[in-house]
């Protein structure tokens, strides 16, 4: 199903206006967490299509080394609108993320994020809706017959980051704190810290690197390590 959707998106994009901008990105997550049972390796690829003030982005993630038993562990679809308000640029993004831990558990997140930049700072705030449920396989295996899911609504979402250079520079490094990542939407009380950077190889290609540190129990006032991972990546803009 996921492959069909991505194929459909790619096909649609290939038929579109040649003045539009297409961006491909690929990255890997290599890390460890309290639930990973050793080192894990995930890979992901995104494609985005920007036309005038709108951007459509889709991507998928798969687990190469992990205790996740499914090949495709994540799928996302984002629609963004860029606009100006009181002399400032904003981006409103609707997102949909579907992840599977195994052939047993299915999680979906959807919501809206509003972001803006001010020189060295990037701010995103929003709200999200989470649904955790069982797959058909789980229902068949365990005999679950009622209440197959739980919802958490209007979860606050945030991302604050600071970069050393202004966005126009060829390279940059920064630090951020957030509760939303590519395929993870945490509760507001479980922030993740990231140090990130990029280097522009040429007009089309950027190399990226991120280190993420995840904690548990921060707002319990008894914080504990939860996970750490490294994310090298590449972004290619087709002009």
């Amino acid at each position: 199903m996921i492959i069909r959707i991505i194929f459909f998106i790619l096909l649609s994009l290939s038929c579109c206006n040649l003045n539009a901008q297409i961006q491909l990105s690929a990255y890997s997550d290599v890390g460890h967490s309290n639930i990973s049972d050793g080192v894990y390796l995930k890979t992901a690829a995104d494609i985005s299509y920007k036309y005038r003030r709108f951007e459509l982005q889709s991507g998928f993630q798969n687990d190469l080394i992990s205790n996740n038993t499914t090949l495709f562990s994540g799928f996302k679809l984002n629609v963004s609108h860029f606009f100006r308000f009181k002399q400032k640029d904003y981006n409103a993004k609707l997102f949909f993320i579907s992840t599977t831990l195994s052939d047993f558990i299915l999680e979906t997140n959807y919501g809206i994020l509003l972001s803006t930049e001010k020189e060295h700072f990037n701010f995103k705030i929003g709200t999200g809706f989470k649904n955790i449920g069982f797959t058909k396989n789980a229902i068949a295996e365990t005999g679950i017959n009622t209440n197959g899911s739980v919802q958490e609504i209007f979860n606050p979402l945030y991302h604050f980051s600071y970069t050393l250079n202004k966005p126009a520079k060829a390279w940059n490094i920064g630090i951020g704190v957030t509760n939303i990542d590519q395929y993870i939407v945490n509760q507001a009380t479980n922030p993740m810290t990231t140090v990130f950077g990029h280097y522009k190889l040429n007009e089309s290609v950027r190399l990226t690197a991120e280190v993420w540190y995840k904690t548990a129990g921060a707002f319990n006032l008894h914080v504990n390590y939860f996970g750490l991972f490294f994310r090298p990546g590449i972004i290619w803009e087709l002009k």
């Binding site: 967490s33 309290n34 639930i35 049972d37 831990l101 195994s102 047993f104 558990i105 999680e107 989470k130 955790i132 069982f134 789980a138 295996e141 365990t142 005999g143 679950i144 009622t146 209440n147 197959g148 899911s149 739980v150 958490e152 209007f154 979860n155 606050p156 993870i184 939407v185 945490n186 509760q187 507001a188 009380t189 479980n190 995840k214 548990a216 129990g217 921060a218 707002f219 319990n220 006032l221 008894h222 914080v223 504990n224 390590y225 939860f226 996970g227």
Partner: protein
């Protein structure tokens, strides 16, 4: 302003005897270290089996007493003692972590011969270096006990989520425990302090989303009947698949909904009630 803000922060960090603000950044021991100590204590003490001579029995569960104050705790203990309860589970945040809070708690605990009790650590037990106090007085925070009736045995597992995560070692132990032992018992009930799902917006922390999914899967796969938690202070019931997730009302003094929770096993069927003490 430049002076007032650091002064205020310093005041908050140093003067509060309810919440250990420094624990947001640095803690004395990790959940893995606490788990290793808990396992060492389990090896010394052996496993606990309770025997009841009839098929029907009940357990009482209390959480978020936050001693300091003991008025509601004393009242609830008296109610439990008068209700033919098989055992009491103290499900975290029973005291606020200071040594004098633990002293007060010990003075008000029931006699174990009269009312067997089981205890586990919540986040407040760990404040102000409180784990050492907990461990020296009560021992393990990750263990299991069983209740054996004339016709069946039920499985009760206590988990330490005082740091908002089971940690890698406790999670591995928990998985193996379910895989190896769950099927030997009729009912399986988990006690842990942190509530897992968020039914309202608060500053209290739950396990991270990734860990939440792993636990949800384990509960479903191993047919866990009930997960009893506290932490959020307001009662809530979520039925997810075959598992009933309970969040209990707090029992601390001055709380208008103060109460405890009761698990009833009657003719093999599991039921529950929230007992209001006001």
């Amino acid at each position: 302003m430049k002076v007032i803000v650091p002064l205020l922060i310093g005041l908050v960090f140093s003067a509060c005897n309810y919440a250990d603000m420094g624990g947001m950044f640095i803690v004395n021991e990790s959940v893995n270290e606490r788990f290793e100590q808990s396992i060492a204590a389990n090896k010394l003490n052996g496993k606990t089996e309770l025997y009841v001579t009839v098929d029907d029995y009940n357990l009482a569960v209390m959480a978020d007493v936050h001693i300091g104050g003991t008025e509601n705790f004393d009242k609830a203990i008296q109610l439990v003692k008068g209700s033919n309860t098989t055992a009491l589970v103290l499900n975290g945040d029973i005291c606020n972590g200071n040594a004098y809070d633990y002293d007060s708690l010990e003075q008000h605990m029931p006699n174990k011969a009269e009312l067997p009790y089981f205890m586990l650590a919540g986040n407040h037990e760990l404040y102000f270096g409180g784990w050492n106090e907990y461990y020296s007085r009560f021992g393990s925070s990750s263990y299991y006990f069983t209740v054996k009736t004339p016709t069946a045995s039920d499985f009760y597992i206590c988990l330490d989520t005082g740091s908002g995560t089971l940690g890698s070692k406790q999670l591995k132990w928990f998985k193996e425990l379910l895989e190896n032992s769950r099927n030997n018992y009729r009912r399986c009930i988990i006690f842990t302090h942190n509530n897992l799902y968020r039914n309202r917006h608060t500053l209290s922390t739950n396990p991270t989303n990734e860990e939440l999914l792993v636990l949800t899967e384990l509960f479903a796969k191993h047919k866990v009947d009930m997960v009893v938690t506290g932490h959020d202070h307001f009662k809530n019931v979520i039925k997810l698949g075959n598992t009933t997730h309970i969040t209990m009302n707090a029992l601390h003094d001055g709380f208008m909904y103060a109460g405890y929770f009761q698990i009833n096993i009657k003719e093999g069927q599991l039921s529950y009630e929230f007992v209001d003490i006001n």
